[in-house]
Structure formats: structure tokens, C-alpha cells
Amino acid sequence: MKFAFTEDQLLFRDTVRDFLAAECGPAQVREAAAGEGRSPARWAKLVEMGLTGLTVPEDQGGLGLSLVDQVLIAEEAGRAALPEPLVDQIGIAAPLLSAFADRADVAEILEGVAAGTVKIAAGHPLDPFVADAGEADYLLLGREESLHLVPRDRVTLTAETSVDPLRRIAAVDWTAGNDTLLSSDPAMLDRMLDLGGLAAAAQGLGLAQTMVDLAAEYARTRQQFGKAIGSFQAVKHQLATVQVAIEFARAPVYKAAFTLGPRDISHARVAVIDAAASAARTAIQVFGAMGYTYEVDLHFFMKRAWALAGVWGDRHYHLARLSRMVLSDDAALGADGTFADK
């Protein structure tokens, strides 16, 4: 029993954090929102760091790392509100496709993913829209109980506008075929949802922390009534309350990355949705009228958090799933059930 990341994992996380602080600061996010939305230059650097191949098997040119490694990276992507769809690649597409790496076409696609030349969008039937479908080469889609790998030219997209100016979502119209079928094991569809949920939860942790950090930074400098507003207990206590929620969402996310158990993923998902919503509500209140403007960076993080709260099974879906597992007669409740969900 050792509930800790390795030194290497933390070091890599720090490297990514430093990279994103330099290459994807709020000013760069703002720039992306005002312009094309995605930065090919930044994508190239992510590829160069090996990030796109993080969870791609070594045989396909990736680093072959686990979702425990990935979860820290996804958290950093959230912290920076990274516009590029890195997390969907390494948190959802690559881990899913890796199970089919013995298929030559899939192996080739995985090589492309690792090399950053192939992009894959993923959409579960629970969700009405697919993110980043427009520039994807393939789409991982579910139909009934099957998982399909669909080339981009086999789908019709209807773009929609997200509250998050950096999210590109579309409704996808497509026809399943034998040639698109990847697996008819219904567990694979559940797995996609779980991976998506984990990815959203990890990003949500990072987003929530950034919102608190931005608000704290503002509160240290903004003066009212002759002192920094951060010296008022009302501001202090609101932010401290959010920080508590974030801290106690953290371990459930990390555990879920290790076990990939549905109970753990639903727990992590709900805890992060609530912590991030509370972070947004509080941060904008601390920023006051400034937070209500487009000119302050906060809103990019709030909007990403709001959008991610709904996808990959929303709060209701995950609470219902948790309910089936926790409130059933044979549920392993109590402390000795904590590490039984593997």
C-alpha cells in the first residue's frame, strides 16, 4: 500500500507545468480565443515533449505510460486551460485503441497519435456533441453496445457554439458499418465513458485550482476600504472553503486513475464537478465586477469547467451509478471496502 506518485512522475508533471506556464499562459489562451483557437506551434512542442505518445504503447512509438502518469498531465492541462485536445488523445483515444494494437490499421493510427500527426475525437452516445471532431482524422464513437472507429470523411458534422470559446463541439451524424466496428464488447463503451470521466475530473481539478489561484492573486492586490480585499475574512473564508473542496477531490481522482473502477470514477467525477462549480462561483464573486468581464482571464477557466461538468456522463449519471454501487444490499461499505474496487 503506497498512495503516492513516484519522484519521476512528479518531476515530469513539474516539467509539463513549467512548459504550459511558458507556452500556454492566460495571455496565450486569450490569444487563441481571439484567433484560430488552436496553436499548431504549441501542438508541435507537445509532440516533441513526447506528450502525445504518453499512453501509446512503446511498440507504437509511445512512452507506454499508465493512466496514473496521465492523470497528473491532464490536471496540468486543466490548470492551463490548454486549448489543444491533448487530454482526449492520451486520456481516452490512446488507452482505448491500445487494446486493439494487434490490428495493423490501429497500430498505424497509434503511431500517428504518438507522432502527433493523427488526431482522434471521441464521443459517447450519452453525450450530444463531440469535441474537436472537425479536425480529427478519426472518431471513436459508440452505437448501441459497440465501439466504432470512424474515419472523418464518413461523418457529417453540425457545429454548435459552446459557452467555452475554446471548445469546438459538433453534433455527429454517421452510419455504423462492419468496416468501422472496433469492438462489440459493451464493456469497451463503458470504458470510454470512464476514461472520459477521469480525463474531465483531472482537468477539473486543475481548473478549480487555477480559479482559486487567480482569485487569491487578485485579492492580494485589489484594494477597497483602504486595504487589500484578501485581508477581509469574507474573502478568506470563501476561498478557504473552496480549497478544502479541491483538496478532498484530489485523492479520489488519483485513486480512480489507479483502479479505473466505475465506483471510483463516479466518485471522482462528482467531487470535482462540485469543487469546480464552487471554485467558479467563488472566484467570480471575489473578482467582483472585474470577474464579470471578458477582459479578465478568469472566465476562460470558468467556462471550461462549466462545459466539462456535463460531458462523459453528467453529475446525475454518476450519482445514479454510484447509488447502484453504494446503496445496493451487497455493497462493500466501511473502511475495508475502500481499496476493494479494483
Binding site: 453534433a171 476600504f225 464573486q285 477582459e295 462549466w306 446525475h316
Partner: protein, 386 residues
């Protein structure tokens, strides 16, 4: 206590309902935070005025109907029930209007109120400055007397509607040596006066709901001052009381939102968490409670009472209720809730909920942040030390 409407009140409701049914635009107007939408809404104000519905509580001589506060509440209920457009002139009719009634000269009332009721003058507010948000006494923009004029220099911000409005009212420091809440005056400024520059500030949704106003030797006649020189703070506090108080946030608005929330929930009950039922019921109860509370206040005011610190209680209650209702709605909408603009699923009116949510986030901030309101309640109602 008599909780039944009189025949006269019922007749008034019927009149408003019929009029609204005939006049409320079938198509939703464009946002009044766009140039085109602003003029559409001005047009609607003129239509309202044509039915003498511009501001029913004002005397007939000033464009109103001399309605009492209960009739006002009935009017508002029917207004929201009909889905009528938002009031682009709310700064005027709900804030400056009552202030003029109390502090304006007869000349000022006659000069400003009928044009306000008619939508001829749309008003912006000029309270906040970059260094004076919740701390309004930190205002620094100066209006220095020069013969029959004040010469204004400085900067206002978060000036609601100021991008397109005709006039603004605000608080200016007329005694340059003064500090905090002394030495300020309440002045009305035509926004087309030379020396004023407006910079729109985009909101969360990208639309310019407010603006910065830069004043560079702006000359305003002395007769545009409301009340005495140096009395500005007291007048502004009265205005802020109106803002937090009875009229600006009429209960019908929240009751209508609660009703839509109940309907949204009913359509999606099967897929959402059972706990949502309790949230929806709480929303309905709170909207009702806000209405009942307002009816009590109105009854008291009609009997000659004064509005007091309950304005702060109201402000907290409606703003947190509004935010919470919209959060619940978005939670019900799930993954579809992120849609900022779409033709999809019009039954749920997703975009309206989402934009309403963004707007609701401003509620606990503007008109005196709720933190300030809680201070006021603690210090003035519960007598806790400053």
C-alpha cells in the same frame, strides 16, 4: 390582513393582461447590449408609454397612472407572465425615477420623468470607478464649479447601459478637498456632451453590457445637480436602496423563472438525480417567499411606512435565489447546457438558461456586493460592532 385582490385590482390585472397580449412582440427582441437591440427596446418603451404603462406608479401628470404598489406588483406579474422584453431604461425608471421623486425639484421632475417614461431618454448609471467598487466612498472623479457649470474630470466604470444610453446619473466629488462620503454631489450628465469618451466593456458573454466613461473637461449646467451640493452621498444611498429594494427586482421575474424551472424539471425528471426535486421545490418556495415578502413591504409602505434595512435582506435573497435557480436548470440540462447559441431543442430554451445563468452571476456582485449587504445586516439589524 386580507389576502384577496379587490375587484378594482382584478380589473387592473385584466386590463394589463389584455393589453400585453395585444402588444408584446411575438419575436424576442435582440439584446439591448447591441446597437440594434438597444433601439428595438427603446421602441418597446415607446409602445409601453402609448398604453400609459411606462411607469404606472408615477402621477398621471408625469406620464404614469398613479398606481399604488400593489397595482405595481400586479402590473409586473402580468408583464413577466406575458414574456415582455426587458426594460432597457431600468436605470432610469427604477433608480433615478424614485430618486427624482424624492429629491428633484418640480422643474427637474417635469423635465426628466415624462421623457424617461416615454423612452426618449435612456439612462445609464455612473457609480463605480476603477478604485471605487464596493467602496463607493472612494470616488475621485471631480465636478468643479465654474460659474453656472460643473467641469467634470475623471473616470467611471461598470456603467450599466452606458454604451448606448442618452444620459447618465452619478456621484461626483464637487469639493476637491473632501474625502470619503463628504463633498460629493449627485449630477445628471448628457452622454453626448463634448469631452466624454465611452469604452464598451465586453461581459462574460462577449456583449458590451457596461462601459467605462472618461470625462475630460466635461461641462454640465448646475441645474443638472440633484439636491444640494455636497448632499450627493445621502441621495446616492437612497438610490442604492431603491436598487436593492422593492422595484428593480420585482418578484414576478423570479416567480416566472421558478415556473420555467418547474416545467424544465418535469420534462427531465426521469434522468436527473432525485435530489433535484428538492432543489426545484426550494426554488419555487423561495420565489414565492420573495413575492410574499414584497407584498408585506408594499402593504407597509402603502400604510405610510418607510423602507429600511430590509433592502439588504432582499438583495441577498433574490440574487442568490436567481443564481441557484439557473445553476439547477443547467444541471438539469447536463451536457446540452454548454450551448451558448443554438437552434437545437428549443423546448428547453437552453440558450436562455445559459445566458440567464451568466447574468445571474452578476447579481451577488452589483448594487452593492452581497458581502457588503451582510455587513449592513450584521451592523445595522443585529447591532454587531463595525
Amino acid at each position: 390582513m386580507d389576502l384577496q385582490y379587490t375587484p378594482k385590482q382584478q380589473a387592473f390585472r385584466a386590463e394589463v393582461r389584455a393589453w400585453m397580449a395585444a402588444h408584446v412582440p411575438k419575436q424576442r427582441l435582440k439584446s439591448y447590449d447591441t446597437a440594434e437591440g438597444f433601439e428595438e427596446h427603446r421602441g418597446w418603451e415607446r409602445v409601453l408609454n402609448s398604453g400609459r404603462f411606462g411607469m404606472v406608479t408615477w402621477p398621471e401628470s408625469l406620464g404614469g397612472r398613479g398606481a399604488d404598489l400593489i397595482e405595481w406588483l400586479i402590473f409586473e406579474e402580468e408583464y413577466y407572465r406575458a414574456g415582455a422584453p426587458g426594460r432597457v431604461n431600468q436605470n432610469g425608471i427604477f433608480l433615478l425615477g424614485p430618486t427624482l421623486m424624492e429629491y428633484g425639484t418640480a422643474e427637474q421632475k417635469a423635465r426628466f420623468l415624462p421623457r424617461m417614461a416615454a423612452g426618449d431618454d435612456i439612462w445609464a448609471q455612473g457609480w463605480s470607478e476603477p478604485g471605487a467598487g464596493s467602496d463607493m466612498a472612494a470616488i475621485r472623479t471631480k465636478a468643479i464649479r465654474d460659474g453656472k457649470h460643473y467641469v467634470i474630470n475623471g473616470q467611471k466604470t461598470w456603467s450599466t447601459r452606458a454604451v448606448f444610453a442618452d444620459w447618465c446619473f452619478g456621484l461626483f466629488r464637487t469639493d476637491p478637498e473632501s474625502s470619503r462620503h463628504h463633498g460629493m454631489s449627485f449630477i445628471l450628465v448628457p452622454l453626448d456632451t463634448p469631452g466624454i469618451t465611452r469604452r464598451p466593456i465586453p461581459q462574460l458573454d462577449g456583449e458590451p453590457g457596461f462601459a467605462e466613461l472618461f470625462f475630460d473637461d466635461v461641462r454640465v449646467p448646475v441645474e443638472n445637480r440633484l439636491g444640494d451640493e455636497g448632499q450627493g452621498w445621502n441621495i446616492a444611498m437612497a438610490t442604492a436602496g431603491f436598487e436593492r429594494g422593492l422595484m428593480l427586482r420585482s418578484p414576478a421575474r423570479f416567480q416566472e423563472t421558478a415556473k420555467r424551472l418547474v416545467q424544465l424539471y418535469s420534462r427531465h425528471e426521469a434522468r436527473v438525480s432525485p435530489g433535484v426535486r428538492d432543489q426545484v421545490l426550494k426554488a419555487w418556495m423561495d420565489a414565492e417567499a420573495y413575492a410574499l415578502n414584497t407584498y408585506m413591504t408594499a402593504s407597509r409602505l402603502i400604510a405610510g411606512g418607510k423602507i429600511g434595512q430590509e433592502a439588504s435582506l432582499n438583495k441577498i435573497f433574490w440574487s442568490e435565489l436567481d443564481r441557484s435557480m439557473h445553476e439547477t436548470a443547467l444541471s438539469i440540462l447536463g451536457a446540452r447546457g454548454e450551448l451558448l447559441a443554438s437552434g437545437v431543442d428549443e423546448a428547453d430554451d437552453i440558450t436562455r438558461w445559459l445566458k440567464g445563468f451568466l447574468f445571474s452571476l452578476a447579481g451577488p456582485i452589483y448594487a452593492g456586493a452581497n458581502e457588503i449587504q451582510r455587513n449592513i445586516i450584521a451592523e445595522r439589524l443585529l447591532n454587531l460592532p463595525r
